[in-house]
Amino acid sequence: MKREVIMLLDVQSLSHQYQSGKHATFAIKSLSLQVKPGILGLLGSNGAGKSSLMRILATITKPSEGKIFWQGQDIIKSPQLLRSELGYLPQYFGVYDQLSGVEFLQYMAGMKGLNDSVANQTIDDLLNKLNLTHAAHLPLKGYSGGMKQRIGIAQALLNDPKLLIIDEPTVGLDPQERANFRQLLTELADERCIIFSTHIVADVESIADHIAIMQTGELIQYDSTSDLQAKVANKCWQLTASFTELKQIQHDFIVSHSLRKGDKVELNIVADFSPDERAVSRAPTLEDAYLYYTSNKRTQTHFMRAS
């Protein structure tokens, strides 16, 4: 008999409302999602509901409706079941700026219930991995934005979490630090679930196994990275146009990338049909898929085709 794969995190019909002026607005609407070990890239524009979902999954906020199961156990009813196995890096967080990096991590380790000897060893390793050893004993108030972000990443990894939730973690990191961070996530991804929320598609393209795309509180796409790219494979075009045509093309189609070439411009276009007879088909990227599913021009191109 074939053994069924255990779903580690199972989100069922999740909805969350908040008060906006006099009206209740849905931050998340009937969202269902199963997260398996590996990296899940959560994409969506600002205000799509990613951070609200992250706070709910991190057991900070209770949702208005729906259920979340971690290893088969309801974590809305019993959030403590998840918290000891959770690593969370919120989009906005703070530190005790009077403490040194080590002191702050010792504090967070204490909050996560780690004993001193394990904590100290882990802290040393993480500071080394995140290139913070030189500043380990300096007060956090003197840290740069990127260094504080790396301290945030370190605290999320302290308890060797089974579920790692990271919300916009690459904000404030320089290109080298971003590459290091992606490498670190890839190393960690083997036996744990990592949910990586971002609106920078390039950050997840090379490392995510699955991609979830959110828009106005709803999950509009959930697939493996390759399948998602395959879905738009016949919709990706390359067109070299003049600058005078550029404005009209940008108005009519989804332009995912543009590159200046002398007095012309090379455009990557995503559309259900060939935008111009000069256009040639090209290989799809995750950014193409993301823009295709989140842009309102998609419906527009359908309409243009019909007319």
Binding site: K22, I60, S84, Y92, F93, G110, M111, Q155
Partner: protein, 510 residues
């Protein structure tokens, strides 16, 4: 256990490594030194029937305990009521909320840190009185036990309760902010009487010392005082040697009510603490008819009028925006309350208006005024404001004037009434009182960057001044004739101008 210890350690380090903590310790030390004046000083503090004990360890220990029991609850509460706020403001709360730490452990660690901070303060005060004893040299025999036991028996239980109260106030949504600060002030004021008259605490101790003095000097007819009292030239304070007392079971039993308060407050804190989660589904209450009417017929019309009035000058346009900024976000019930107070001002007797209703109308505005001077810092818009403003002075004056308009609106019933009755002196007093209140708010906000300082200081001055009619703190002049005779209105007008100038200067320098 490790979780608890790490929580306490980090919280204690974070709170005590700030410069303000050192300033607090130094201030408490200075306060202690001032509480024990020499015999020929201009003021005296603890005088029983015209006598005070020589400054030996027994007398100093008991006096320090009395000082602490009376004044530490008010000073320390506001000092430590930021344990949870610190985590919220620094956004460390986002990280803490996702850890397995329980509400009980987290709050208990905060309570322990509060207690440790308070113990540090008492230790500094104890060290200061040892210096006092050696400095005055009325007795060189240092008896550590005699100095310490009154602090352990009388002060410590009170500190435990204050630490718990601070946590409870921070955990309950509506007590977290300015309302809580004002509520606690009145709670403390009400508790002083019961503290002094208590049968097991310092009340009984005071009676015991009084009886002892009466027995030693039966013919003496001097005054008794346990606060700051200006020395009387004719009544020279005499000293006697007080041998002290030992703690008894009754003293220990007297701590029980405070320990119970401590426990109950802590339980309430655990129940009401939201563990930094936002309310998932706030109630969507329909707007009441009253609120709708007030919004349409009063607030919107007033704003429309302000728009027309403000149009001609950039300063007035600025003033309208500053006023809007101050009033935005406050409940419509606050406006309704303001309207009611104004109506009452028109019809109540003048005596009651001056002594009660007008001061209450000003207190009604304390949470609005406390925003002055620190809004940019709280909203993190300092840099945006700095680069965009045309003139720092203009912006400062517009902010000040907005506060002035708020208090003028709160007093408009009285202003109309006094103008109609040609009570020009009372009108002048109102102008000075408003100017002083707004200057103080602006000064406190700009220099401390928080609302708390003004909320506490103003409530205290308001209570002792206009309400209790203490001449030198009565910025309004409830006893009009006496106030003018002593030159108090001039004095407060001058303070208002100085505070405003200092604040404008500080804002411009920024």
């Amino acid at each position: 256990m490790n979780t608890l210890w790490q929580c306490i350690l980090a919280d204690f380090k974070q709170r005590t490594r700030q410069q303000s903590f050192i300033v607090t310790l130094l201030s408490m030390s200075v306060l202690t030194l001032l509480f024990f004046p020499s015999l020929d000083a201009q003021y005296q503090t603890l005088v029983i029937n015209g006598y005070r004990g020589i400054y030996n360890s027994e007398w100093l220990g008991i006096c320090l305990a009395m000082l602490n029991v009376l004044f530490l609850p008010i000073i320390c509460f506001y000092l430590i009521k930021n344990g949870l706020e610190l985590d919220r403001q620094s956004m460390t709360s986002e990280l803490i909320a996702a850890t397995p730490v329980s509400k009980l452990t987290y709050l208990f660690s905060k309570w322990c840190t509060n207690v440790f901070i308070l113990v540090c303060i008492v230790l500094v005060m104890l060290f200061s009185i040892i210096l006092i004893q050696l400095y005055y040299g009325e007795s060189y025999q240092i008896n550590i036990w005699a100095l310490a036991w009154p602090q352990l028996v009388f002060v410590m239980p009170m500190l435990l309760a204050v630490a718990s109260l601070a946590i409870m106030f921070e955990s309950i949504k509506w007590l977290k902010g300015g309302v809580g600060n004002v509520v606690y002030f009145f709670l403390w004021t009400a508790s002083i009487v019961s503290t002094v008259e208590s049968v097991s605490g310092i009340g009984s101790l005071l009676s015991q010392i009084e009886a002892e003095v009466a027995e030693l000097f039966p013919l003496q007819q001097g005054s008794t005082n346990i606060g700051i009292n200006i020395a009387n030239e004719t009544e020279k304070i005499k000293t006697f040697i007080w041998q002290g007392i030992e703690p008894t079971a009754i003293h220990l039993l007297g701590t029980m009510p405070l320990l119970l308060v401590c426990l109950i407050c802590f339980i309430f804190a655990v129940i009401y603490f939201d563990r930094f989660s936002k309310n998932s589904l706030p109630e969507n209450k329909p707007t009441s008819w009253l609120i709708k009417t007030v919004n349409t017929h009063v607030i919107n019309r007033l704003d429309a009028l302000f728009v027309i009035l403000a149009k001609p000058f950039s300063f007035t346009r600025f003033l309208r925006l500053e006023l809007k900024l101050l009033l935005k976000g406050h409940s419509s019930y606050w406006i309704i309350g303001l309207l009611l107070l104004n109506i009452i001002q028109l019809f109540i007797s003048q005596q009651l208006l001056v002594s009660m209703v007008l001061p209450i109308s000003w207190l009604w505005c304390v949470l609005v005024l406390s925003q002055l001077g620190q809004l940019e810092k709280q909203a993190n818009t300092v840099e945006l404001i700095t680069y965009s403003k045309k003139s720092a002075v203009l912006q400062s004056l517009a902010s000040y004037s907005a506060g002035w308009v708020v208090l003028a609106m709160a007093s408009s019933g009285s202003l109309v009434r006094f103008a109609f009755m040609a009570e020009w002196i009372l009108l002048t007093q109102i102008f000075i009182a408003i100017s002083f209140s707004v200057s103080l708010a602006y000064f406190c906000g700009a220099f401390t960057g928080t609302k708390r300082m003004f909320e506490i200081l103003y409530t205290a001055i308001w209570y002792i001044g206009p309400i209790q009619a203490a001449l030198y703190l009565d910025f309004f002049g409830v006893n009009s004739a006496a106030s003018w005779q002593a030159g108090i209105p001039y004095y407060f007008a001058a303070i208002s101008i100085v505070l405003l100038m200092l604040t404008v200067r500080a804002k411009s320098t920024h």
